[in-house]
Amino acid sequence: MTYTQTTPHHGSAVDGTAADAERTHESAARGRTPRSEDGGDVARLLEPDGTRVPDPALDPWIADLSPHELRALHRDMVLTRRLDAEGVALQRQGQLALWAPCRGQEAVQIGTAHALSAGDFAFPSYREHGVLLARGAKPEGYMLAWRGEEHSAYDHASINVAPMQIIIGAQALHATGWAMGAQRDGSTDVAVAYFGDGATSQGDVNEAMVFASSFGAPVVFVCSNNQWAISEPVTVQAKHPIAGRAPGFGIPSLRIDGNDVLACVAAMRWALDRARRGEGPSFLEAVTYRMGPHTTSDDPTRYRTVDEVERWAERDPIARFEAYLCAEGVLDDSALAEVAAAADALAAEVRAACIGAVTRAPETVFDHVYAEPHAPLAAQRAEYVEYLAGFATEEDR
């Protein structure tokens, strides 16, 4: 095998050394991890039907999850799905210009985001609605960009989330730089870069791994391998599992079932712990699936089969987790009803935020180009304001 799937070990350093690889081979030999649909091994704690399976490496990382925390994970996944559905609906109704559905990817988004501390900083792509929600962004915050009102509408500093990134992979470098800063501050804050399978082909993502490795920066790379980059299957980007890239850069990686929220929490905690201990970057490949189109402008029937989508529907992250929680008695019908009500409420809020949105005044297009005074631009603005005023006058006549 050409890559090393590093196994997280609770409390022990996993630094991608030979000894570590031995361990990996060993655990792989034990046949611990079931094969995922696309032919690679993934680490998993919940079977698609909700059965809890043991994984000695991951188990310890979630041993302390309380029923309260488990319910919070479930709730945020449900809210994310509802928010996402509302995004699609609002786009169809002309309330949004575009929407990039995240249906199917709730587990990796919520699982990893829940593992973060307040001081950590997330660098999302455009599809991480669940991450924004979990970090506390307000509905306007995550909707208005898709309506075309703002480029980025949440308050980055208060929720420690960078503006969503459309330039594929660029944020991986930002996260690495931020982590280098956290390192220099002597803090234990960690940066998280979220990106897709397609992004792994970009120079920026690879350079981010180089920098992160060279400086031992406390950053976690979370690759949501949802099998597609618009119409291109992941095999166009990588013939071998993506998690196999990182070890070559000296970065331990883990390939997990991205539809298993417990595995996502566990893996993320492992990675965060490494970072906080000064052990540097880690890489997670969360194997998941984009159930919807790439965006509301996309027509996935042109490039994939209904069959494939149906097969992945059987591995739904929410159904799986609900089955588990109900079986464990952590969730019951009334709790589910409560969550459903909360989702309805969120959907209503989201809808209100969209429909109530008022487009800014024209001259605000000139705002915030610079932080400091800029006379020529101020003049351009004044000229445009005067020009617009001319219309008012004409119309008045």
Binding site: I167, A375, L377
Partner: protein, 349 residues
């Protein structure tokens, strides 16, 4: 003649170029099975096969860099950059390699590469999907930079670009992708106007409008409106931004003495600056008024809901036409220039 949209005229141009020369191949993201996010390459992979219509990994430097290698091997690659805002990762390969290899090798190496870029705004798109980066390429010696504003031009110019032994950046005004026009699919390239020539899109006598891309349509609309007000506009579609056909532009300006340059890109050091400077150098004694620029502001492209306040529209063009039309400038008016300049603060103090 066949009625085609500008987008399908490009598809037809690509198909024609590929059947005329089997060294022509296409590279890009989602151009194969999907046929491109704008469907411009629709059906081409089926027709010409996956080895010639290549869905690449998601990396623009990689796309252009491998196209350079393919050109070295004797191919004529046509690459698609999915949107204007995604060309920058390939900037190094374009500026340092594509543009320079012929020069660096004393002409031994040819770079018959076409870089197609769906381009510019006004379509309500997300951030980074409405950029107008043409000036960067116009400033880069070694590249040719063109754009078409009619289906006929799109069909012919695309084929000319592929046939050119120089690298060509081919901007496709996405706002016009769905606009229709008659196309002569059997046109012989030998009979077509050369790639570098400007086109007088409408003749007029009062004011010259110099523009390109989707703004040609806006300028033509403005010309209709101006006609009602008794001002005759001549509209020049520059078509080739590098080299630029100053002959056609200057001939018009010498006739009208008044000129408005229109584009969507930011003003500062944009294409309009070059056009105004060139006109001033060549036509100074004929100018009745200082040339005006109607451009995007010097801001990043704004959110879609506000883009109408950035992309020049008919009214902004007419406003500028009024300014060059009304203002006569034989000698400095008493305090007049300061006054004329007063809406635009000149300094930065």
């Amino acid at each position: 003649m066949t009625a085609l949209t500008l987008g399908s005229a490009i598809t037809a141009g690509l198909a024609r170029a590929m059947s005329d020369d089997d060294r022509v191949l296409l590279l890009g993201e989602d151009i194969g099975t999907l046929g491109g996010v704008f469907r411009v390459t629709d059906g081409l992979q089926e027709r010409f096969g996956a080895p010639r219509v290549i869905d690449t990994p998601l990396a623009e430097a990689g796309i252009v860099g491998t196209a350079v290698g393919l050109a070295l091997r004797g191919y004529r690659p046509v690459v698609e950059i999915q949107f204007d805002g995604f060309v920058y990762p390939a900037f190094d390969q374009i500026v340092c390699q594509v543009a320079k290899l012929h020069y660096r090798s004393n002409g031994r190496i040819r770079m018959p590469l076409v870089i197609r870029i769906p381009w510019a705004g006004g379509v309500g798109a997300a951030e980074h999907h409405s950029e107008s980066p043409e000036a960067y390429f116009v400033h880069t010696a070694g590249l040719r930079v063109v754009t078409a504003s009619t289906p006929q031009d799109a069909y012919v110019m695309l084929r000319q670009a592929v046939a050119s032994d120089d690298p060509v950046v081919f901007f496709e005004p996405k706002r016009l992708y769905h606009s229709k026009g008659e196309v002569d699919l059997d046109a012989d390239l030998a009979d077509a106007p050369p790639l570098h020539l400007a086109r007088v899109a409408r003749e007029g006598t009062g004011v010259t409008i110099v523009t390109y891309g989707a703004s040609v349509r806006t300028a033509l609309d403005a010309a209709l409106a101006a006609e009602d007000e008794g001002i005759s506009l001549e509209v020049i579609d520059v078509r080739s931004l590098s080299p630029m056909d100053l002959h056609t532009v200057a001939a018009s300006v010498r006739k009208t003495g008044r000129v408005v340059v229109v584009h969507e890109a930011a003003r500062q050091a944009g294409m309009g600056a070059e056009i105004v400077a060139s006109i001033t150098e060549r036509c100074f004694p004929f100018l009745e008024a200082p040339p005006q620029r109607v451009t995007g502001h010097d801001i990043p492209y704004p959110p879609a809901k506000l883009e109408k306040h950035h992309v020049p529209d008919l009214d902004r063009i007419l406003h500028a036409v009024d300014r060059v039309w009304e203002r006569d400038t034989g000698a400095p008016p008493a305090g007049g220039v300061a006054a004329a300049g007063s809406t635009v603060e000149e300094g930065v103090r």
